[in-house]
Symmetry: C2
Amino acid sequence: MSSSLTARERVRAELTREIADVARRQLAVDGAGGLSLRAVAREMGMASSAVYRYFPSRDDLLTTLIIDGYNALGEAVENADAAVPHDDHAGRWMAVCHAVRDWALAHPHEYALLYGSPVPGYKAPQDTVPAAVRDTVVYGRIVSDAHRAGALNPPDAHHPPVPASFADDAARVRAIMPGVPDDVIVRGLIAWTGLFGWVSFEMFGQFAHTILDPAAAFDHAMRCQARTVGLSA
Amino acid sequence: MSSSLTARERVRAELTREIADVARRQLAVDGAGGLSLRAVAREMGMASSAVYRYFPSRDDLLTTLIIDGYNALGEAVENADAAVPHDDHAGRWMAVCHAVRDWALAHPHEYALLYGSPVPGYKAPQDTVPAAVRDTVVYGRIVSDAHRAGALNPPDAHHPPVPASFADDAARVRAIMPGVPDDVIVRGLIAWTGLFGWVSFEMFGQFAHTILDPAAAFDHAMRCQARTVGLSA
DNA sequence: CGATCGTCAAGAGCAGTGCTCTCATTTATT
DNA sequence: AATAAATGAGAGCACTGCTCTTGACGATCG
């Protein structure tokens, strides 16, 4: 046999993918709440009950959309990072920041699905974790690369000392930023949350009627964040 | 007449408030998606159609819950700020940070309603704006107070210059931080988005399996943010 | 005082949802 | 060829938001 899949398995995989694609289009239009299994079935010309052969519940369909979304964002971030010279750490940081924002602007409902409030009655299963950290490892690698290269500016003298109780948490984060001391890990976390906090505020309307040139403000804010982390310009 | 309201108007206001209270309880249990007008009516022992006399649609009910939420958070922030000596700017900042986090932990679904992804098919009307900025003016006042008192540390020499295109946006933000120069406004925005970015990440599960002592990490992160703004310890 | 008009609760009903069950058909395996 | 597994379709249940109509209550005005 040329393919290790039977014809049945092939058409099943194809249909599963097509259902997810149709669902993603509906998600892009109506948002997570407007995603309807029946509507997907209608658009595909099949009975609503048939869709349940491929996705046992609406939440399962949402889960695959979430995983796909994390992977799409992660890939965008990876590509942005790879397009900048490896030792230009500040440039890499700025590139991934813009990649996140650009992806969010291009896929607002998917971004809301990933980083907004959990969908009503939906509990994220463990399956999403590997995809969810795909972009995170990129941020971590930039910081740890800069640290290993000795390119990180030291924090100013009056910086508050890291509390001892943070040691355990820092050790866990160090899996993504190998060899990085605790205070740098904190600064990385602050920049990370600052990036998504800013993008979320812009996406969810908190900046409405205030920041009318969000692209410029974002670029400058992330440049400041880079300095907070210690990435030299 | 002792009250300027007729008996009819009084019972109407009372019932409106009671419906909102029941809805808020359901919101706290099931989240925004689980909020059902019919369930509210059931719990109150009235017909579902009767509820529509008080709230013309589910979205209107959600809107009042959102406004109430903003006001509750705003009040918590105001109280936290007022409990700290007026010239202890860093202490005031830390107090409001913890007020936000504590309120979010105590009202997770309401927080998600305010700062999570917009509810499916729900478009926030203008009515929410005044309540939504109630906490924001507190942050702005802390920064502008510190600046007026000359208590703000200057940014380091290599800080990236504020782009000229940000001038218009800064002017709008200055309505909340009177007399504050552009670069300080930027630092205030970064701290503001960093605060809510951190709280949202904690509330929405992005820290799961990584930060197990979120209270300590939050306190330290916000202390670092204070230094970024220039608030002396 | 009695008629009127605005307000209100209730019920029926529509269109939509997620999901389950059964039944016939198609496909793959033995 | 016979059997077992997988698939699609339809009906149906319980639920949702929302509308419309009907009948009753209460305040106001002639």
